[in-house]
Symmetry: C2
Subunit: 250 residues, 2 copies
Amino acid sequence: MDAMLQDRLVPHMECGGCPIRHRAVCARCDSEELETLEKLKYYRRFEAGQTVIWSGDRMDFVASVISGIATLTQTLEDGRRQMVGLLLPSDFVGRPGRAIATYDVTATTDLVMCCFRRKPFEEMLIKTPHVAQRLLEMTLDELDAAREWMLLLGRKTAREKIASLLAIVARRDASLNLRETAGKASVELPLTREEMADYLGLTLETVSRQISALKRDGVIRLHGKRLIEIPDYRRLLEEAGDDSDGGIPA
Amino acid sequence: MDAMLQDRLVPHMECGGCPIRHRAVCARCDSEELETLEKLKYYRRFEAGQTVIWSGDRMDFVASVISGIATLTQTLEDGRRQMVGLLLPSDFVGRPGRAIATYDVTATTDLVMCCFRRKPFEEMLIKTPHVAQRLLEMTLDELDAAREWMLLLGRKTAREKIASLLAIVARRDASLNLRETAGKASVELPLTREEMADYLGLTLETVSRQISALKRDGVIRLHGKRLIEIPDYRRLLEEAGDDSDGGIPA
DNA sequence: GCAGCCCATTGATCTGCGTCAAGGCAGGCC
DNA sequence: GGCCTGCCTTGACGCAGATCAATGGGCTGC
């Protein structure tokens, strides 16, 4: 689209920010396909707080997150909300073959997405198998993440839930190389207490209390409300009840 | 494999029971591919109660469930368990591209699976794009189901959880045409109270109490321990807190 | 400066579900 | 028959986290 917008994109991937484009095209290069994709895509910006898509809406595009953070939520009639996805840069949004959105998608920070018109994207999927392959891998990863969350929601205590959330965001942050505070991990928490509560199946009061408790016990340090420093990542993982060592080096 | 075994297969799909074979080959027919798949596959039987695969095991096949029911579970170090998948006939097991299992797979009834050696299956995926497409669709469906479960685990009450489980199993049953008790829906519950508890993030005592309560209130009727009759499916859905009308006709 | 807003914190109390414990029932084996 | 074992039910009690409520702190706009 316009050059001004493109300039603002965080270049978190070698290939211009879009993982579909990146993986589909650059990794197994073919200029003809690149051409196709370039015609397909356009960037869209959303402001923090804006609900991008309402559940039940018609949805004529699929997209991948370029920068910013969005959430996927489901709501019961009486208003109980559960977040079912946290979309960080490089995550995929939408579902090929489905015209109606099944979740609310909300921007929690300013958000840029790289969108593909759904119909032509689906046709491209059929024509270029390795894009479908890549999408399959991404979906399988998401499924694993969802199952990890099911364990968290069903069996972990409030304290473990908070620690798990921090650990996961820290891990994702690190793997995107967004933040390396000289050895010490720290997380810019992109969520309000209420959003964290919606993610964890808790109330915002409990979230606040448990964060205070973790702080009191020296597991984390707070700088302001959102920036959380993790002096000892292993300690955090223990608190999370996770045995997997998660993949942050030091 | 042997004819005796094949004879026992529930023919729940037009094409011999295996959804991969069915959808990959018969739906968009091509005798050469059929040939390939026939060479790839073999059937395996497991007894009820047997853990088929342990998390961490090497896993050199992927499979689809032909008959019987299996569960996917995750366990924390201290023994807390959470079921993260319920595998009914036609469901897919395993993950292309991954050699190590991440969940325990347990047969809760006698189980027959149609297995494909992983490596050749992966190669076949690359060569026959529409199988990958089909697998993508199935994975996306599973992801939706997982997210539905996240809502259940995070926000529903014990009573709603039980009602939801019954509704979902009834729906799946109906869509497989396994059971039509003359207008009235009824569910052969394939799980012990403890397994239900593991699925729902509850204890077995709470499951038992809530089933008793639903029975007392006339929402369900029990015939023995496992066969559950649902006199009014809509009523059950209301109890489940679900607004979606689920797709069982009457 | 002050008002108004949003978000976070903390306290007091309540409650749904977990925990512990005591049977009950059906099937298999001696 | 009698015993055992696996599964389920029911009761009594306690606690983690929900609910209700008050306060504080930072930001924006006047």
